[in-house]
């Protein structure tokens, strides 16, 4: 009896979760049609969803498998370049590769295939460097992966391979999110989809990662994180599973890199610095190591704060206070650093810890508040 009730409750909660998610997507779609395209909201939504995907992919490695890797920017770089190289339309190649005689690649693939190729290229590279690197532990692994990311950054700007990567010049004119807007007969945009597209792609990828985490593989990953020796004694092949987590995480970082390229409309290897990895690490830690929803939430908050809400601190006017003496270039970063310190101080384990944001959690929170009030009322009545 109790079991049936429990199962029904679970079904209802799952339905509420799905409904909440759908509501978010519908809200994004509606907002895009109604609000002006120049609104900062769309910058936050686009970049936030891309960073959410990359943060979740990093969390899979750092939070769920316990591998402290700092190679994320490198894998994003591979993804971005593969996407750009294979999607620039032929008619633009001459102008993009102007110093390399139009480059050597003279074909294009559809966007969806290019996204998968971007992920696959990053995954293959991860599989190769994983062989030596994953034998290292904790800090040493972080240093090695960071090193590989830096090597990639230099390598992609190398003149010799310029006919493919365009050397240190920008790759551009490949399809971006605006190309997905549906235009009417008059040439004006009839339906805006430029924000929904990254949401959908990132959403699908995150869903795949969640399914993986919930499978028996995900359990093995967490077992490795908790105790390698015990996991091995239970028959979990340590190297195989670490390699698997590393490759899958890199795949999605590669897709994330490709999405970032679409968002920025241009790719330059020098932009994929270790600072970018640190930003994502920051999102993962603030959101909570081992929490997918935490990474998503953290990503939107981080992007909103750094790109939008705190902009005024650099520009002279913040919250209506005009003080160009204090609020000038760079002050935003000072305030931002203070906020991050406060978050880390008061939310030791990140906003979400290692639990997930869900209907169940909200329901429990409400029940607790309700119970407290009820018990208070009872106390009052007794008096």
């Amino acid at each position: 009896m109790n079991n049936i009730k429990h199962r029904r409750n679970k079904k209802i909660l799952t339905a509420v979760n799905v409904a909440l998610l759908l509501a978010i997507y519908v809200a994004v779609f509606v907002a895009e049609q109604v609000l002006p395209q120049t609104s900062m909201l769309f910058v936050v939504l686009k970049k936030g969803s891309i960073y959410a995907l990359i943060a979740v992919s990093m969390n899979l490695l750092n939070g769920f498998t316990g591998l402290f890797s700092l190679g994320q920017a490198g894998f994003m770089l591979i993804g971005a370049y593969v996407y750009g190289i294979f999607t620039i339309p032929e008619e633009f190649r001459q102008s993009v590769y102007q110093y390399f005689d139009g480059g050597v690649i003279h074909f294009t693939v559809p966007v969806v295939i290019a996204l998968v190729m971007a992920g696959a290229a990053a995954a293959i590279f991860a599989a190769l460097i994983g062989l030596p690197v994953l034998r290292l532990k904790s800090d040493y692994l972080a240093i090695a992966t960071l090193g590989f990311a830096e090597i990639l950054r230099a390598l992609f700007q190398w003149k010799i391979i310029g006919p493919v990567t365009n050397g240190s010049n920008l790759l551009r004119k490949f399809p971006n999110f605006n190309d997905f807007n549906i235009k009417g007969a008059d040439g004006k945009v009839a339906v805006y989809l430029s924000t929904l597209i990254p949401f959908i792609v990132a959403g699908i990828c995150i869903l795949l990662i969640v399914l993986l985490i919930r499978s028996s593989y995900g359990r093995a990953f967490r077992a490795i994180r908790d105790d390698e020796i015990a996991a091995e004694a239970m028959g979990v092949n340590l190297f195989k599973h670490k390699q698997l987590a590393f490759v899958i995480s890199s795949f999605f970082a590669g897709v994330g890199g490709a999405l970032l390229a679409m968002y920025q409309m241009a790719i330059q290897a020098n932009a994929f610095t270790s600072a970018m990895t640190y930003e994502i690490l920051l999102i993962v830690v603030i959101g909570g190591l081992g929490s997918v929803t935490g990474s998503c939430l953290g990503s939107f908050l981080f992007i909103a704060a750094s790109e939008w809400w705190l902009r005024g601190l650099d520009g002279g006017t913040f919250l209506g206070i005009n003080a160009p003496g204090i609020f000038r270039a760079g002050f935003r970063k000072v305030v931002f650093a203070v906020i991050i310190m406060l978050v880390v101080l008061f939310y030791r384990k990140g906003i979400m810890g290692d639990s997930e944001f869900s209907a169940k959690r909200i329901a429990e929170r409400f029940r607790r508040i309700f119970m407290k009030r009820k018990s208070k009322i009872e106390v009052v009545e007794n008096e």
């Binding site: 028996s216 093995a220 967490r222 015990a230 091995e232 004694a233 979990v236 092949n237």
Partner: protein, 238 residues
């Protein structure tokens, strides 16, 4: 069932096992006792495929498994280790801990989970609790339950009494006997020689990498030199 012949293990230049031989017959409880550093844990780790022996043979059900050095393959063959210090997964729930124990199995686990819960009703009450929040005794139950989930033919236990209150230790040993009755062969290593010898059918004494004595549990329990070296004169409390 398990036959170890002239097993040698080195850690760097240190000889941890200097060639030991012993046997674990099917359906019995066998114990290795000895002081710290005698090589008991090393023996179990070598059998489990977690470290590579320098020389010697480990036969399990007629097959030589000493060359594999592949822990997963050995779990697959039916040997499971309950590691020293319990080593449960602290940030996973009790149920998840149990499921990891059956990681290599592809069949349904419902009946095995029920079997573990009937052995340890306490674990069922706490199935949604994180492993790290359990008490020491409960963690030991979880470690044993987790190992049973692999459906082992041979269960190896490394110091199950470590750091537990005497009453809890007695409970754990009762469970070991119960598991053995259900048809699982047990290889047990212990510093708590008194309890181990009372439980075991056959026992070996290890000293600095060698096996120095062997006999049935009762024989060794009543042996004056063993009494002196490992049991002390502490029999009053029983």
């Amino acid at each position: 069932m398990l036959k170890v012949e002239n097993l040698q293990v080195n850690y760097g230049g240190i000889e941890a096992l200097k060639g030991i031989s012993f046997e674990v017959p099917t359906g019995k409880i066998v114990t290795l006792i000895g002081a710290n550093g005698a090589g008991k844990t090393t023996t179990l780790r070598a059998i489990a495929g977690l470290i590579k022996p320098k020389a010697g043979a480990i036969h399990f059900e007629e097959a030589n498994i000493s060359g594999t050095h592949d822990a997963a393959a050995i779990v697959g063959r039916g040997i499971t280790l309950v590691p020293e210090g319990r080593r449960i997964f602290p940030d996973m729930t009790v149920l998840e801990n149990l499921k990891i124990g059956a990681y290599l199995r592809k069949d349904k686990l419902v009946r095995d989970i029920e079997r573990v819960y009937s052995l340890f009703p306490r674990l069922e009450e706490r199935s949604w609790q994180l492993g790290g929040t359990l008490s020491g005794g409960e963690q030991q139950m979880l470690a044993v339950g987790r190992a049973l989930m692999a459906n082992p033919k041979l269960l190896m236990m490394d110091e199950p009494s470590l750091g537990l209150a005497p009453l809890i230790v007695r409970g754990i040993f009762d469970i070991i006997r119960e598991i053995n009755k259900q048809g699982v062969t047990v290889l047990l290593i212990e510093q708590n020689a008194n309890m181990a010898l009372k439980t075991a059918d056959f026992a070996y004494v290890m000293e600095t990498g060698r096996i120095t004595r062997s006999g049935t549990g009762n024989e060794l329990l009543n042996d004056p030199t063993i009494k002196e070296a490992y049991l002390g004169t502490m029999n009053e409390d029983d």
